[in-house]
């Protein structure tokens, strides 16, 4: 069977605008991904716990509130603490190019701005995810 990639999509913090993330969720579903959507107002702790329980390949966060310079690093730090830094963290929202650059330099995946075509996001994930998660021997 061809490999299924699992993506957790979450909205951290207090912003309640989920139109964008729902568009991404539907686009990724249609591109053959298994999308776990956890809804609004998630804490970084909830997001990372869900990512681990669901054993996802990537976490995508949508932030329109301006709190991205706090929330992205918080999630990255927690993933690292849990030994799950091989899970890709990417995102989108109202985020300036300078901030996006800073986040990517700190180890974050791509940050997509308003108007990014869904196809770009799909291609990015299809290029980035294969072979990314570390393989451990099970038995």
């Amino acid at each position: 069977m061809e490999q299924k990639f699992r993506i957790l999509l979450a909205k951290p913090g207090l912003d309640g605008h989920d139109r964008g993330i729902k568009v991404i969720a539907a686009a990724l579903r249609d591109a053959g991904f298994e999308v776990i959507y956890t809804g609004l107002r998630q804490t970084p702790e909830q997001i990372v716990e869900a990512a681990i329980q669901e054993d996802v390949d990537a976490v995508g966060m949508s932030i329109l509130s301006g709190a991205h310079m706090t929330l992205f690093p918080a999630v990255m730090k927690l993933l690292k603490e849990k030994g799950a830094e091989d899970i890709l963290l990417f995102g989108g929202g109202i985020i300036s190019e300078q901030d996006a650059k800073k986040l990517q330099e700190a180890g974050c995946g791509r940050i997509f701005g308003p108007g990014a075509p869904t196809q770009t996001v799909i291609e990015y994930l299809k290029d980035t995810l294969p072979g990314r998660r570390k393989r451990e021997s099970i038995l």
Binding site: D30, E34, I36, G39, Q46, E49, I52, Q53, E136
Partner: protein
């Protein structure tokens, strides 16, 4: 240290990896399952099924909280459909489980059906085995939104709760075969809506008139809930606990466990054999040449089936 070693040490990320390993049918998954399979596991499996939008996820959320308050650990498997067109899936059951998701004693795993048509995915049974082996006291299994014939959950779980809503249909619907026959407990959720009283009495009438009020000595209850407001959840949880006592009683009777194990074994064999035989019969893409013959009018699906069936010898 292998992932399985970490799993035995109750490392949740190891549990998670093991579930993926089983779900993806990676090489060695049968050996893994044979190592963790435990016939005398003390986990109790509760299935929640019902049509789309009947409040299954919210019910699971509330039932899980009640069990946690009683000191039990809870593992949850929530299944949502895979698209038959794209292979993708949107798994949204966690949204209704926000209160739970942040509690340490709970483990929630969303699964896509990946082509299985019985309301669960093919690997759900085996993922439940992983949760049992990990040591959860209670395992809640939520099906996809079902119609009338997605009944796999009943074969897997010890107690099956069928959740309906006032809009679920009239007295004729309650008479139909399938979904109505697998319940150990009926729930009429969203009971604040118009028509809930009518549905409750129609269900009770159906159960009485069919002589199905009792099933293996268990009187089928019909419970009204408003899951979102927490109304009726105590009654429901108490009924599940009653049913558990009933089932444990059945298990002490000779033949009951054997019957369940038999159906489990046949289900597993059936899937494996089917996949294997199809692979053998249709190797090197001979299926395409058969398709061509049918399209060209040289043959038909039935002659080809007959011809292929003759190739099977054991």
């Amino acid at each position: 240290m292998t992932v399985l070693d970490r799993f035995y040490k109750k490392d949740r990320s190891a549990l998670s990896r093991i579930i993926s390993f089983i779900e993806n049918r990676e090489d060695g998954y049968l050996e893994l399952l044979s190592r963790i399979y435990n016939i005398s596991s003390n986990s109790y499996k509760i299935g929640i099924t019902g049509p789309p939008g009947s409040g299954k996820s919210t019910l699971v959320d509330k039932i899980a909280i009640r069990y946690l308050e009683k000191g039990f650990s809870v593992g949850i498997i929530a299944v949502d459909p895979t698209s038959p067109f794209t292979g993708g899936a949107l798994l949204g059951d966690r949204i209704r489980m926000q209160d739970l998701a942040s509690r340490g004693e709970v483990f929630i795993r969303s699964m896509a059906t990946r082509g299985s048509g019985g309301g669960l995915s093919e690997a759900t049974r085996e993922v439940a085995i992983a949760l049992e082996s990990y040591g959860f006291d209670i395992i809640l299994i939520e099906t996809v939104g079902v119609g009338q014939v997605e009944l796999d959950v009943a074969g897997l779980c010890d107690s099956t709760v069928v959740a309906l809503v006032p809009e679920s249909g009239d007295s004729v619907q309650t008479l139909k075969a399938g979904l109505m026959e697998i319940a150990n407990i009926f729930v009429v959720n969203k009971a604040d809506r118009e028509g809930s009283g009518r549905l409750v009495s129609e269900l009770r009438l159906m159960l009485e008139s069919r002589g199905q009020k009792q099933k293996e000595g268990w009187i089928l209850p019909v419970i009204k809930t408003e899951a979102i407001n927490g109304v009726g959840i105590d009654t429901l949880t108490d009924k599940i606990i009653d049913h558990r006592k009933h089932v444990e009683n059945l298990y002490t009777q000779s033949g009951y466990r054997e019957k369940r194990v038999k159906s489990e074994l046949i289900t597993i064999l059936d899937r494996k054999i089917r996949a294997r035989v199809l692979k053998e019969l249709l190797e090197d893409n001979s299926v395409d040449s058969y398709v061509k013959q049918i399209v060209n009018g040289e043959s038909d699906p039935y002659s080809i089936t007959e011809k292929l069936m003759r190739k099977i010898t054991i």
